[in-house]
């Protein structure tokens, strides 16, 4: 053991420099550069660990001696994530917080629906949905809030169609989701929102059970032996993971591009940057930014010369991990053609690596490309300093993104 870590444990750094909303909290970066595996104090008094180095993060996430179970993990957040289940028990079917082999049994029922090939078949429909929203933006005329006009509705509509959730209900579930994931909402408020969402999905599952539909949920009802309770949890998890995350990447990605005009010019001029831009934005922005992923050690594990003891919780500080100079050269520079950008951990690593990553990639590829083709002179409608950031949310992003353009 090294001496430096025997000092006072740190608390999870969350404060970002308002002058640079894309950079990780400075304190997180500083820790990575001085002690990439450090003792972390949790609000409940637990003392665990914070990992901010790339190699160590990969090793923890790939190691079955680290568990995702909520009853074993301490939360670094002001309040727990109510969507994962109530108290210490995971909601039935909530495989996201189960270890293998339970996790694997559920995940394997879904993976066939999210393959590279399957997602490619959705492309024409995603192009259509995106074109419709860009048409509506053009028709409304500037200025518009890009979050409401583009970033939020597109992934919401896509995941609704994929799952078989009526899009007419989007105002309801977007609103409730926003409360459920807002870390500034009280546990009570968040629990009420999560309860409403669960009731809504339970109804939907019952309905589909009596009149089967040709969509992901309908398919699971006919082809698997999942219970209604499990289907409810899984459907809800996919709906939320499917629109919150991608929506934030779309809007934050556009904000980042608008603030890096040289990169944006290069992107517009060169369609071969389409795929690598998505990977570099995922790396540079790393929206899963606060207290997640996290794991609990099931055994004593030695890592980088330190001993993580059984029962201790490890938090992975992804924003700093994805800017680790040991892995990425000039990590704080946004460079859309960056070689090896795909090695980021923005989708996690190990057996829980993001199930929806191929869908998210296609939505971003189509979204950024079509937006800047349709509105080549898109710019912010307010000074950048006025853009308010979602700091206290599980997924980082902008609250609103007012944009404008010259009308032809």
């Amino acid at each position: 053991m090294t001496d430096q870590n025997l000092g006072t444990p740190v608390t999870l750094p969350t404060r970002r420099d308002p002058a640079c909303p894309f950079d990780p909290p400075e304190e997180l970066t500083r820790l990575r550069d001085s002690q990439p595996l450090t003792r972390l104090a949790f609000p409940d008094g637990h003392v665990g660990w914070l990992v901010t180095g790339y190699d160590a993060a990969r090793r923890v996430l790939a190691d079955p001696r680290f568990s995702v179970r909520m009853d074993l993990k301490h939360s670094p957040l002001p309040r727990r994530n109510v969507l994962a289940g109530s108290g210490d028990k995971p909601a039935p079917g909530m495989f996201v917080v189960m270890d293998d082999p339970d996790h694997r049994r559920f995940r394997r029922l879904l993976t066939g629906q999210f393959t590279v090939q399957r997602m490619r078949r959705l492309e024409p429909r995603i192009v259509q949905i995106t074109a419709d929203h860009l048409d509506a933006m053009a028709k409304a005329g500037p200025p518009v809030d890009l979050v409401q006009a583009f970033a939020l509705p597109i992934p919401s509509l896509v995941i609704c169609e994929l799952l078989g959730v009526p899009y007419e209900d989007h105002a309801f579930f977007q609103e409730q989701t926003a409360v459920a994931v807002d870390l500034e909402a009280s546990v009570e408020q968040a629990t009420v929102a999560a309860g409403r969402l669960t009731d809504y999905f339970a109804d939907l599952v019952r309905h589909k059970r009596s009149s089967p539909t040709d969509d992901l949920l309908g398919g699971l009802i006919t082809d698997s032996d999942l219970t209604d309770e499990e289907l409810t949890t899984i459907g809800l998890a996919l709906l939320i993971a499917g629109h919150e995350t991608t929506a934030n990447m779309l809007a934050l990605g556009v904000f980042a591009l608008l603030r890096h005009p040289g990169q944006l010019d290069a992107y517009r001029a060169d369609t071969s940057l389409t795929d690598s831009a998505v990977e570099e934005l995922l790396r540079y922005l790393t929206i899963i930014h606060r207290g997640s992923p996290s794991r609990a050690a099931l055994a004593d594990v030695e890592l980088d010369g330190q001993l993580i003891r059984a029962g201790e919780t490890v938090i992975i500080g992804l924003p700093a991990v994805n800017r680790d100079p040991a892995r990425f050269a000039d990590p704080d520079v946004l460079r859309l053609g960056r070689e090896g950008a795909r090695h980021h951990l923005a989708f996690g690593h190990g057996v829980h690596q993001c199930l929806g990553q191929q869908l998210a990639r296609i939505e971003m590829r189509i979204g950024y490309r079509m937006l800047f083709e349709r509105f080549p002179a898109l710019r912010l409608a307010v000074p950048a300093a006025e853009i308010s950031m979602r700091e206290a949310s599980l997924a980082y992003g902008v609250r609103r993104l007012p944009v404008t353009w010259e009308q032809a």
């Binding site: 790939a62 394997r108 029922l109 993976t111 590279v116 090939q117 795909r342 057996v351 990553q357």
Partner: protein, 66 residues
């Protein structure tokens, strides 16, 4: 180079298919990795090494020099 995959470990993330689509595919029903070409052309070796590094489940091995 000889490529070996472990279908039991695979979590169907699709990273290998993105890296080297001529070498890897995903089974339609559950997305589990399928090898299209266990002895890929040297031009594809870098892409296979990328897939090995990116695979979140350590389900791919590449034995070099064969």
């Amino acid at each position: 180079m000889r490529v070996i995959t472990d279908q039991d470990r695979c979590v169907a993330a699709g990273q290998c298919v993105l890296s080297a689509p001529d070498v890897f595919d995903q089974r339609e029903q559950d997305g589990v990795v399928m090898l299209r070409d266990p002895t890929p052309h040297p031009d594809l070796h870098d892409a296979v090494r990328d897939a090995v590094a990116l695979c979140p489940a350590a389900a791919i091995r590449a034995q070099e020099g064969r």
